[in-house]
């Protein structure tokens, strides 16, 4: 019985992801890249909504991994392969695992599954929709001076920029990471002397 439910859920998810791609291919006569972008965008938004609405917080964390993966695919279609690789390594490999560990360390059996939203959930939803509409309007109404197609960023040029123009920011970030590691260990360390 349960296996059938999972199969049906997988089929529905696959349909949700492939339908926009087919729509773009057939109705808008788009290219393969257009279909890929539509599919990845749908996957990203659907899993993002799943992150903030699902009751089981472990599943929220797993949906967040799917969201980050779709985002890495979007970075590839934007021609930023290095950023996509860093997205997979840093977000999926490190931050998601850290968050899943923290979920398992802090989950309580009774309280967390009962009520997931605050009382201000409805105003929050309205505010979020307003933010999304405003950003879309601002993006559509501004002339960014954009080129007609995405320009691929070569990794060698990226390295020259990172260790040339941006080397001060690079060093500052490394100091910040060291401080964050020390701070994290200090904050999460168990104090022995407390009675």
């Amino acid at each position: 019985m349960r296996a059938w439910l999972y199969l049906i859920a997988a089929a529905v998810a696959g349909g949700i992801v492939t339908t926009p791609a087919l729509l773009v291919l057939i109705l808008l006569k788009g290219t393969f890249t257009d279909a890929l972008v539509a599919s990845l965008a749908t996957l990203m938004l659907a899993s993002g909504i799943a992150v903030v609405t699902m009751r089981d917080i472990i599943r929220c964390g797993l949906a967040m991994i799917v969201c980050f993966l779709a985002l890495a695919g979007l970075y590839v279609t934007l021609g930023a392969a290095m950023v996509a690789a860093a997205q997979v390594i840093v977000y999926i490999g490190a931050i998601s695992v850290l968050i899943l560990f923290a979920i398992m360390l802090t989950s309580d059996k009774i309280g967390s599954s009962r009520l997931v939203f605050q009382t201000q959930a409805a105003p929050a939803a309205i505010a979020a929709i307003v933010v999304a509409v405003l950003v879309a309007l601002a993006a559509a109404g501004t002339n960014w001076g954009a080129a007609g197609e995405a320009v691929r960023t070569a990794t060698g040029d990226l390295a020259k920029l990172l260790f040339g123009n941006y080397v001060l920011a690079f060093e500052a970030v490394s100091v910040l990471l060291l401080a964050a590691v020390i701070g994290g260990v200090f904050l999460a360390k168990r104090e022995k002397d407390v009675p």
Binding site: G48, I57, L71, Y91, L187
Partner: protein, 105 residues
């Protein structure tokens, strides 16, 4: 012009992801859910920056570098945030933020 060759597509997507993160941050009760929502918001901003770097000729290459730096800062933020949540959980035995009311009473 297809949707993959327009800056507006990616900016709208980034705004939508940021809005989803905003909703999660304002509406969820669990502190770790709120941290996950912050990660979603950071990723939305990152998508916008990478899109600008790919489409605007003046920002060619800069967008990707800034996105990489933001990822490092996000990793630092996640480390410290989760450590704070775990430290609070050890004292209060709950991950729900509306029960952290010691300074209101």
């Amino acid at each position: 012009m297809g949707i993959a060759e327009q800056l507006n597509t990616y900016l709208t997507l980034a705004g939508a992801l940021f809005a989803i993160g905003t909703f999660g941050f304002l509406a969820r009760r669990n502190a770790i859910s709120m941290l996950m929502s912050i990660e979603l918001m950071l990723n939305g901003v990152n998508l916008a920056i990478v899109a600008f770097g790919a489409f605007v000729p003046n920002l060619q290459g800069d967008g990707a570098v800034i996105a990489l730096l933001i990822m490092a800062v996000a990793a630092a933020e996640a480390t410290v945030g989760l450590a704070i949540v775990i430290a609070i959980f050890r004292n209060r035995k709950t991950p729900l933020v509306d029960e952290y009311d010691a300074m209101r009473r």
